[in-house]
Symmetry: C2
Subunit: 518 residues, 2 copies
């Protein structure tokens, strides 16, 4: 058994042993007592992932009207080889999360070093010391059949185990605030029975001490406003009863910018769990809806981006989405599956959320259309062709690669015998495709390209000049614009240079071609 956890910068941390555990428990008690003596309440955040780590820092950063910290936070991360390193890293005041937001390093340094209100630990004992536990552990949906999200399922084992740990440790008065995006019904039908069972094992009278559970969901956005998107944005919450609802309201009001972004209370936890998954299903569906129109537009000489722009002037249609390369990230690709699965497996309904998972299918398959365009531009086959992919992440100017459409694109390229190559200024390693070397030298990378795929709108790619691209490839490459990254003037220039150019939703390229030839 490996007993070492390695941080992204390569530092190796030994996992704690039994002696360290004992010492840590003692320390946790001391720290907690000291913090309580300062009038602070104690919060434990379970799970220090993308959201949990930042949420822990935001809670630790909260102050009362006199500017005094309200909470001391134990950030709790299991001592796994994959993630234990976060504990010592955070305790040095360093962010465990890579992000483009300058506030991220600041808030960890401030809360850990200056305010002394945040400390990370691996020890579950921290839960027993908390007034509030915020649950931010991961809960994934598995889609075993590509393009058939209706077959997706949720493996709740790890989540149930995490809640069991809480039930074994927490004071029965402690509020468990679940922020993980969960299948609707989870608070009522999974978390509550587990806590009740564990309380009873501990001899707690659950009539007198019913488990205190609330639900609230963030709307975090990766990018330059990461922290703010957690703290300064509307949040919906609910409780399993009025007491829990009120405890959640008080906590969220203390921690978030609720003056500017008022809280929204829903009638029960099913409702707010549904809200989260429905909200993201709506977004995923709105993207999916556009795809068939993109194909239509390409076939009939229409620039769909202009069409969308023209429709968006109408206030009720302002959020119409553009066509593109695909949909990535952690939420839009899975939340509809959570709801679909919950409908049948938690609530025992015969029907799921068919339109929502149908949208996931359209979105998951979307990168294959860019692949088709590439194939067409290369004369019908990808075999042996060097295809240079500009962007591995799923969002402009963000280094997050989770479920990025580039992943699907890459894997299919390999299947079809192409020689794929990838560049991304913001991605160091591509965890989903570890064998891919993520190039950093753009011009070297493009050398010998048969096709260049404009997949992600990183700033660097927007600035590329056609003459330069053609020069550094040393060929006349096919140019595929999957995300409307090329303005018409650039497309014309590529056409004049002899390139085959295709673009998702850009049927007007045929007109531009005629213009350059006349």
């Amino acid at each position: 058994m490996q007993r070492v956890s390695t941080s992204p910068d390569g530092t190796r941390y030994d996992l704690p042993n039994a002696a360290a555990d004992e010492q840590e428990i003692k320390l946790l008690k001391e720290i907690t007592a000291q913090q309580r003596s300062m009038g602070r309440k104690i919060v434990a955040v379970q799970g220090l992932g993308f959201v949990g780590a930042v949420m822990a820092a935001v809670v630790a950063d909260a102050v009362d009207k006199d500017g005094k910290p309200i909470y001391f936070v134990h950030g709790v991360q299991r001592p796994s080889t994959r993630s234990y390193w976060k504990v010592p890293v955070i305790n040095e005041g360093i962010t465990p999360v890579e992000a483009e937001d300058p506030e991220i390093p600041e808030i960890f340094s401030r809360t850990v070093k200056q305010k002394g209100t945040l400390r990370a630990t691996w020890q579950e004992h921290a839960f027993s010391l908390a007034d509030i536990v915020v649950v931010d552990i991961q809960l994934d949906a598995t889609k075993p059949v590509f393009g058939n999200a209706a077959k997706g399922y949720v493996e709740t084992g790890a989540f149930e185990k995490a809640i069991t740990v809480l039930g074994q440790n927490i004071d029965p008065e402690t509020l468990v605030l679940i922020e993980t995006t969960v299948p609707p019904g989870t608070c009522q039908h999974i978390a509550k029975p587990i806590l009740a069972r564990e309380f009873e094992k501990r001899g707690i009278d659950i009539e007198k001490h019913p488990p205190r559970i609330a639900h609230s969901y963030e709307r975090v956005m990766p990018g330059r406003n990461y922290v703010s998107s957690i703290r300064d944005f509307w949040r919906t919450y609910s409780g399993v009863d009025k007491t829990c609802e009120e405890m959640a309201r008080e906590f969220l009001t203390n921690v978030l910018n609720t003056e500017k972004f008022p809280l929204y209370c829903l009638g029960n936890t099913n409702a707010s769990e549904i809200a989260k998954t429905m909200e993201n299903s709506f977004r995923a569906s709105n993207i999916a809806l556009i795809h068939e129109w993109a194909l239509f537009a390409e076939d009939v000489g229409v620039n769909l981006f202009e069409v969308v722009k023209s429709i968006r002037v109408r206030p009720t249609h302002r959020n119409m989405m553009n066509p593109g390369f695909g949909v990535g990230g952690y939420c839009l690709t899975k939340d509809p599956v959570l709801a679909h699965w919950a409908s049948m497996n938690i609530f025992g309904r015969r029907m799921g959320l068919d339109m929502a998972v149908g949208a996931v299918d359209v979105n998951d398959l979307m990168p294959l259309h860019t692949l088709d365009l590439t194939k067409q531009a290369l004369g019908g086959t990808l075999e042996g062709k060097k295809v240079c992919l500009l962007g591995a992440s799923y969002l402009n100017d963000v280094g997050d690669t989770r479920h990025s459409p580039s992943e699907t694109f890459w894997k299919t390229l390999v299947k079809e015998g192409a020689i794929p190559s990838v560049h991304d200024p913001l991605v160091k390693v591509w965890p989903e495709i570890p064998e891919a070397r993520v190039h950093k030298d753009l011009f070297g990378f493009l050398n010998g390209a048969d096709a260049v795929i404009f997949a992600v709108g990183h700033k660097e790619y927007l600035e590329l000049e056609p003459t330069e691209v053609v020069r550094v490839t040393g060929k006349i490459p096919a140019i595929i614009d999957a995300q409307n990254l090329l303005i018409d003037e650039k497309i014309k220039e590529y056409l004049r240079l002899g390139c085959e150019v295709k673009g998702v939703g850009k049927g007007h390229i045929s007109t531009l071609k005629a213009e350059t030839q006349s």
Copy 2:
């Protein structure tokens, strides 16, 4: 052959005979010459339906910077028994369109009587006198299989005939501005070849005089701002070439409030035709998306209206739709079918717009869910039950019944052996179900009701008090809220009175029931 056209108020008008035709042509020439001598340009509007009649009045109402009328308008309506009456009615300065907008009668009286800039005629000769013809004739989609919009088709014969008439009459310099919602591709692939063919028959050199066609679409909304929704709202346009584009721009700028609502020009007519159908497909889809969540919410005790409200605080999700009774009207029920059909039948693509027509199916079938709720509330059968439907129109406080969900609901009630009855304060006759007597006396209507369906949000229904409803039925009726018309307090009152209450998307009624019983 019937030679009489009867107006809605029962006045009978003889259809014009050959002598009248001759006289009318002479008159048209005289009027036109006189109007031209006043410096006015001549516009003919083809089709005086819901949109055409009002558009004709808006054009006739347009003035230049000195307040002088810019155009004289010939409103042209074919002399059919169904519609000829509009010609003499308009020429008396009376609106042919029933609407809740007080500006409607005013604008007809003003343009016909005061300004003398609008005159209706049945005579196609008017087209030959016009500088611009605005096409506003009807073009319907037929959905032969209920719940399978993919089988829908467009019968273009009447439209083609109308364009042929233009080709036989217009000056080749005349701009034909098509405002009818058409299957994408219609301007290029239907209208243009027809005009070219007819021009050639007339010996016109179509190389020198290519048919002048432009496309622009309105976003008319029935209700209290009918006229304004045509005149004071963003409009998109396009032309088959730059000259036509410019002619359309000039005309629309003269006629519409483009200072506040700038025009949007798209690159070709396919693009703006797609924009119209895509815009409405987006709306139709966004309604359809919510339906499966409504069913989910009902099953798991959630009030989906509150959930939607909570999500709508997010600016990108502000247009999320509420669940409800169904979708009616002329646009959302057919425009996706136009695009789907055009994709395969005008452009010869193998694929249509599957998601868009799928949304139409969900929406078309939606009223059957309210029927299910009614059946459940009545103990499993509708046989012999008196079901009182509050509302025949498709929109709150509007009398328009076209494709209203009430129609589907009524027809299915009949099939299932119920005794349906309908009330609507704004609907005089229900053209789609002529055998239905539309009641006006609300209390008499409700007498003996086994179920009362709150289907349309007319003001009158919002004011109904539960005690009154139960009293006048003389029974304990089931109450079905298909459109969130009942606040929780009213639902509780119905429950206290012993009514079974169900509502689309209102799963929390079970909680309200428990509260009234405790």
